[in-house]
């Protein structure tokens, strides 16, 4: 297992390097440049290019960037004069992570509950109710449900603040809005998985053994049905983190989601690369951790994983 982890670690590093290189080249191929604007003159652009070192040959810039990257320096943002990408990420990531973690937790708990309840009430009203929620959650995009929740619970009913991120009350609407899609996916997956498990022979065995219904559900059914959820948690985490952009925009949350889009619109090279590296490392790490948790939950994988 140790060697396997080391090997995967090296592969991950290589993955990140390839990612950075590809993005580094791709953004330079995009038409336009970071400093082009209505009022830019060629002379001033030359000064700015020199200030940021873009007057040097591309390969020099590349090695310079990689060198800085190895020291953990993501460079200066081109749009936010002199602010380093490191600082921006350090100031905004905790907010996005806070929002994301709350959403994942809410979605997981509620999703598992709804999924289990739907399966146990298969074909009854509650099942259809859960399926309805799941369909709405999957099919309605974030910007619709985000705006709708804001309009109803913020502006009309005045139960929660309309926007901003100033305390617990401010988190409820955005967290709920962001978790809806994930909640729906988890509900559907859990429901399907439970329905499959319920008909397994070992459940009948457990019933024959005389275990109580509660014990059967918690020890045998949920424990076995939850495996697919663990599998999709990795991609779901990625989905939530990349999906924060819309919700952060609607609720004016000072997170990092906006830099995803604005970095590209502004052609802020160091911002785009910084985001790429950050998310790249983050996703590689997230998948890695999911693999380990997977091993903990399913002994078969633990053994074969050696």
């Amino acid at each position: 297992m140790g060697r396997y982890i080391l090997k995967r670690f090296i592969v991950s590093l290589f993955t990140v390097l390839v990612l950075v290189t590809t993005v580094f080249i791709l953004i330079r191929l995009m038409p336009g440049d970071p400093f082009v604007s209505e009022k830019m003159t060629p002379e001033i652009k030359a000064n700015m290019m020199a200030y940021y070192g873009f007057d040097k040959p591309l390969y020099v810039q590349y090695f310079h960037y990689i060198g800085n990257l190895l020291r953990g320096d993501l460079g200066l943002s081109l749009k936010y004069s002199n602010r380093s990408v490191n600082t921006i990420l350090a100031q905004t990531f905790p907010v996005s992570a806070d929002l994301g973690i709350r959403s994942i937790i809410l979605a997981t708990i509620l999703g598992l509950f709804l999924g289990v309840m739907a399966a146990l009430n298969n074909g009854k009203f509650f099942d259809y109710f859960c399926v309805f929620i799941a369909i709405v959650g999957v099919s309605v995009p974030d910007f619709i449900n985000g705006s709708l929740l804001q309009y109803i619970f913020g502006l009309k009913l005045k139960l929660f603040p309309i926007a901003r991120w100033e305390g617990f009350r401010y988190t409820i609407l955005p967290v709920f809005a962001l978790s809806l899609y994930t909640l729906a996916v988890i509900t559907r997956t859990m429901r399907a998985s439970m329905l499959e498990v319920i008909n397994q022979d070992y459940i009948m065995t457990a019933q024959a053994k005389g275990l109580s219904q509660w014990q059967i559900i918690t020890r045998h059914q949920i424990r076995n049905a939850i495996l697919p959820i663990v599998t999709i948690l990795g991609p779901i985490t990625a989905g939530i983190l990349t999906g924060t952009f819309v919700i952060e925009q609607i609720y004016a949350i000072p997170g990092m989601g906006r830099f995803y889009v604005s970095g590209i619109n502004d052609l802020d090279y160091s911002m785009i690369l910084g985001m790429t590296v950050f998310y790249g490392v983050f996703l590689v790490a997230a998948n890695f951790i999911v693999d380990i948790i997977y091993g903990l939950v399913d002994p078969r994988i633990r053994i074969s994983g050696k």
Partner: protein, 551 residues
């Protein structure tokens, strides 16, 4: 053993849930108290900006968000309020008879750290702006200063040759390359704000990145800068004119989504708010809706040298385009009447030489805003005869717009009108905003949608754009008479004569039509009834709240 491990993880998860879910409960009470206070009669202004402030470094800033804050936390030699130049850090000034040398006499004023504001701070700020190593995007603002352009482009390396000199602590001399009546108002731009050399050196690359990394000399002090969230300004108790400042505190929130900002305004959380252009239809008949022209004018720039399209080099064809567009219908269809149809270059608000507005004193009425399809066809026929083209369909024109939904709507109306009224083949090409600008510079377009925000209140800010050697003039249009008139206006001291030069030049430009003027951009907004003294002006800081107050 393994089972225990899993249950420990489960337990940790539960704790994590509990902690993340309930964190922040404690701050709830204090927040509500804060809200209740600001709802009272206290002089606290709250409004929203749509994006994070890119920079509060006076010489590096380049955006409206920055301007609006800088205008309040710093003060230059003069202050521009409602388009009128008022004394700022300079108590009075003398202008030499040739209009080229300005001598400013500074008042006794203090920085927020107690140090006196001196002429050296201004000298340093302007030198820093024009130093090529600063890499300031706004350096062009200093090109009117003697050797400003030369120093910024490295042609002059001796900074003492730059036309800015502190004669002593309280006297600053600025020499211009040419006389410029608008120069005084121009000095209110953020890039001309005084800057403390010792503070810049102390913080290095972190200068002005946080509220505490700079000192302030304006009516307000930057108290807090919560990045991506907003800034808080507080009244400066040491400001020289502090009795004229009524607001105690200003909260500028960063609300990216204009619809969210509007909801917050409706909820009473903001004191004024812009109406999103997409909602204009809903608000245009609301008696509370206010409308301003923010100074931007938009046009289609035509590339006279577009390869394979000789008609663009033909003046009659370009005039036909100008006649063919019914601008009234265009703004009503594409913007629900928000924008103002326009058929010349200089904006209606620009000040004239005789005390009125330049455009009223010097009217130009070549193309009617409703268009004239008969004239359009007449000019098209002339152009086709000259180019020996039989079928108007053979004439192709690609309109290049940026890929936003709003731009697309504008492009489609223009495409429809040009096709309908001229019978030519018009296509639309949507590209990213940055690509549009790059293609514009590289002269890779037939017709590109573009606009201009004025830097100062003078026809020059618009008219010099079409000089042959201006880097903004990518059309390839060059007219010796036009260049001569603009050059003459540049050195003319008599305002009436100068205006005549501008008028003659603009008439040539509109008639020769290297561009198709379309509209002046307007913006709708809502404002609380008891908020007074707000200034919305088309030059400098669009939103000037410095002298605002609540009744």
């Amino acid at each position: 053993m393994k089972k225990k491990f899993v249950s420990i993880i489960a337990l940790l998860l539960v704790i994590l849930i509990a902690s993340t879910t309930f964190v922040g409960c404690g701050s709830k009470n204090s927040e509500e108290k804060g809200n209740a206070e600001s709802a009272g009669k206290s002089q606290v202004l709250t409004f929203a900006q749509t994006a994070e402030i890119p920079s509060l470094d006076p010489q590096l800033q380049n955006s409206m968000q920055s301007f609006e804050v800088t205008n309040a936390i710093f003060e230059g030699l003069v202050r521009l309020h409602d388009g009128k130049v008022q004394p700022g850090m300079a108590e009075k000034w003398d202008i030499s008879s040739d209009g080229k040398t300005y001598t400013f006499h500074l008042r006794d004023a203090k920085w927020s750290d107690g140090q006196p504001v001196t002429a050296y701070d201004f000298e340093y700020g302007i030198r820093r702006l024009l130093d090529p190593k600063t890499g300031s995007a706004y350096a062009f603002a200093g090109y009117g200063i003697l050797n400003g352009y030369e120093y910024n482009t490295g042609k002059v390396t001796d900074v003492s040759k730059l036309g800015v000199k502190a004669l002593d602590e309280k006297t600053l001399e600025i020499k211009l390359a040419n006389p410029a009546a608008y120069f005084l108002g121009y000095l209110s731009l953020p890039c001309f704000m005084p800057t403390r050399e010792d503070i810049v050196e102390k913080y290095g690359n972190n200068f002005a990145l946080e509220a505490e990394n700079n000192v302030y000399n304006g009516p307000f002090i930057l108290k807090e800068w919560k990045h991506e969230s907003g800034v808080t300004l507080e009244k400066n108790p040491d400001y020289w004119n502090k009795d004229a400042i009524k607001l105690d505190k200003v909260n500028i929130l960063q609300i990216t989504d204009p619809n969210t900002a509007l909801s917050m305004y409706e909820n009473g959380e903001l004191d004024f708010v812009s109406i999103p252009n997409t909602l204009w239809d809903k608000y245009k008949d609301n008696p509370k809706t206010k409308l301003i022209m923010n100074g931007a004018i938009d046009w289609l720039r035509l590339n006279l040298n577009a390869p394979g399209k000789p008609w663009l080099a033909n003046k009659d064809f370009r005039k036909a385009l100008n006649y063919a567009i019914n601008r009234e219908e265009y703004v009503n269809t594409a913007t629900k009447g928000l924008y103002l149809p326009y058929t010349r270059l200089v904006l209606p608000m620009v000040v004239g030489a005789k005390g009125g507005k330049y455009t009223e004193e010097s009217p130009i009425d070549i193309y009617p805003t409703t268009g004239d399809s008969a004239k359009a066809k007449e000019y098209l026929a002339k152009a086709m005869a000259a180019l020996n083209i039989k079928d108007p369909k053979d004439i192709t024109l690609e309109l290049k717009f940026s890929d936003s939904a709003a731009d697309k709507a504008l492009a489609e109306v223009l495409q429809d009108q040009l096709t309908r009224n001229l019978g030519i083949t018009v296509t639309i090409k949507l590209v990213t905003y940055k690509q549009k600008l790059a293609d514009d510079t590289a002269k890779q377009y037939d017709a590109v949608y573009n606009g201009w925000m004025p830097d100062y209140d003078d026809p020059m800010t618009y008219l010099e754009l079409f000089e042959s050697n201006n880097s903004q003039n990518s059309t390839g249009w060059s007219n010796a008479e036009y260049d001569k008139l603009i050059e003459a206006a540049r050195t003319e001291v008599d305002p009436v004569k100068r205006q005549q030069y501008f008028w003659d030049a603009e008439k040539i430009l509109v008639d020769e039509a290297p561009f198709v003027p379309l509209q002046c951009r307007r913006l709708g907004y809502l404002e609380k009834d008891n908020l007074k003294g707000m200034s919305r002006y088309f030059v400098g800081s669009d939103i000037d709240f410095v002298f605002a107050y609540f009744e």
